[in-house]
């Protein structure tokens, strides 16, 4: 465990150096990332323009949800994992995965860490400020316990989302043709912007596979605004740990089918 922490700290240092060597890329990334953050809020504004509450969430609570989506998914998840998942496609298709598999390192860790999109920090910081502003305008009061539980459940939410992505991206080993496979989890992520009941309102059995995503942001947000039940908490933790276990097993199984690339 200690070794992995050491390696991860080294990753952070190396990514910071890389970012400072390529300021142009950094600025473009920052711009795009913040623009999507603003879009998050605009989308809720547009959708809820003619209503006061949806699926039991008030309009103000929906705006908070848009902000926490930015903190957890648009900010933290993208910062920690987005580039790694993008690279995973070519890594597997073009044989670069060999380099990861040859190292005495858990290959799931090796494939999904390493790149950090540091510019996403801006989205996290701005969203935190935004959430505090919205909550004070809406008169939603929170204490230190709310913030701590938001962080704890946010952590489990990130694990659930990570495992969800990893399982889908592992399919690239089976279908190397699907170079746009990341579009599936990218679009499914949008589910996390809205109250979890929306998944049932979509009325399509086939989308139930996205169930974990519906909990990723909504549960930590419920913790933040004092709407969390014991069931919500237990469900998210169970889903997160269960999916993580499945992702690890499926990955190991998929590696037997890995054909590398010819020389």
């Amino acid at each position: 465990m200690k070794r992995y922490v050491k390696i991860y700290i080294l990753f952070i240092r190396l990514n910071y150096r890389r970012a400072s060597l390529h300021m142009g890329n950094f600025m473009t990334g920052l711009f795009g990332n913040v623009a999507w953050g603003i879009f998050s809020i605009l989308a809720i504004y547009i959708l809820s323009a003619r209503s006061t509450s949806i699926f039991g969430w008030s309009r103000e609570e929906l705006f908070v949800l848009a902000g926490t989506y930015n903190i957890l998914v648009g900010g933290s998840f993208r910062m920690l994992f987005a580039r790694n998942f993008e690279n995973m496609i070519n890594l597997i298709r073009l044989g670069g995965l060999d380099g990861v598999l040859l190292k005495p390192l858990n290959s799931q860790f090796g494939v999904s860490t390493g790149h950090l999109s540091i510019y996403s920090m801006a989205r996290i910081v701005l969203s935190v400020i935004y959430v505090f502003i919205v909550m004070s305008i809406a008169g939603i009061e929170i204490g230190i316990i709310n913030i701590v539980s938001f962080l704890i459940f946010g952590f489990f939410g990130l694990i659930a989302l990570y495992a969800f992505w990893f399982i889908i991206m592992s399919f690239i080993i089976w279908f190397p043709d699907l170079y746009n496979i990341d579009e599936i989890p990218y679009s499914t992520d949008n589910l996390a912007r809205y109250p979890p009941q929306i998944l049932w309102a979509m009325k399509m059995f086939i989308f139930l596979f996205a169930f974990p995503v519906s909990l990723v942001v909504s549960t930590p947000t419920k913790a933040l605004i004092d709407k969390l039940t014991l069931f919500d908490a237990g469900l998210l933790i169970a889903v997160a740990l269960g999916l993580l276990f499945v992702s690890s097993k499926f990955w190991k199984f998929s590696l037997r089918n890995y054909t590398s690339a010819s020389s």
């Binding site: 890329n25 623009a35 989308a43 959708l47 209503s51 990218y186 979509m202």
Partner: protein
């Protein structure tokens, strides 16, 4: 007009079309992935809007639950058929990988080469999306009533290819800015966001809040997606259809002229760099 050279060139372009269609058929799953994203997002927004409708008693800004459901089903077909993406191959293959030099040597314009490259994808994905539209209509027991006059149908038949050309020309301008700087990621993401909002993907344009609705009629995006959709739904009178077509032609002229200017400048820069 029908000189032998022109006919030969047309045959060559058709052959490019068939070749790309063939390539597309050997990797059909990629198209299914794109259709999934349109379907998922459309149904997600529909689910939210239905919630709004149920709160407001089933009527909103001229839309009923039935017509708005059809709208969102059609919003799956519209981008599959009409929203072009030439910027991917232009930026990745032609500019970054240097294939542009080879393309410039061919006896027909770059614009039309890319056009015939893109077309098979739109047709194939449009077909799949139409099948999904039919399946959803049956599953949700929500059918469109096609009450269109012959004149309306004729005008829609003109409107659709205009919408396609508008989308294609706009995206080509975006793509060739890559000749100046390869990292146009920021600009592309901004354009994507503008299209999602103003082409009517989140909500129909007439349900956009105040200033956004006005802006939508001013920008070209609604004329690529939103208007073709509501036209097919029979919501546009003959006069309205003709207005929309006029605006499409106006935008297309502006964008095409802009494309030619940007392309000329871009080409000079490209050749200056010794490619």
């Amino acid at each position: 007009m029908f000189s032998q050279t022109r006919i030969n060139n047309l045959m060559r372009l058709l052959r490019i079309f068939l070749l790309h269609f063939q390539y597309l058929l050997s990797h059909p799953s990629r198209s299914f992935v794109f259709i999934y994203t349109y379907t998922f997002l459309s149904l997600l927004y529909l689910a939210f809007i239905r919630g709004v409708f149920l709160q407001n008693g089933g009527d909103l800004g001229g839309w009923t639950l039935s017509s708005v459901s059809s709208y969102y089903f059609l919003i799956i077909v519209a981008p599959a058929l009409l929203m072009t993406h030439p910027e991917h191959p232009v930026l990745r293959d032609d500019i970054e990988n240097g294939e542009l030099s080879g393309r410039l040597l061919k006896p027909f314009s770059y614009y039309w080469q890319r056009f015939f490259h893109e077309l098979p994808y739109r047709l194939f994905q449009g077909l799949i999306a139409t099948i999904i539209f039919i399946v959803l209509s049956v599953l949700f027991n929500n059918y469109i009533e096609f009450r269109l006059s012959v004149l309306q149908v004729m005008l829609i038949v003109i409107m659709l290819p205009l919408a396609y050309m508008l989308s294609f020309t706009f995206k080509m301008i975006l793509a060739i800015t890559g000749l100046w700087t390869t990292d146009i990621r920021g600009a592309r993401e901004l354009v994507e966001i503008l299209i999602i909002i103003f082409a009517g993907f989140i909500v129909p344009v007439n349900l956009l809040p105040g200033i956004l609705e006005n802006l939508a009629y001013f920008l070209p995006f609604a004329y690529m997606i939103y208007f073709p959709v509501v036209a097919v739904q029979g919501q546009l009178s003959v006069n309205a259809l003709m207005s929309v077509i006029s605006v499409q032609i106006l935008w297309l002229s502006i964008l095409y002229l802009l494309f030619r200017k940007v392309w000329k400048k871009g080409l000079m820069r490209f050749t200056d760099l010794g490619h």
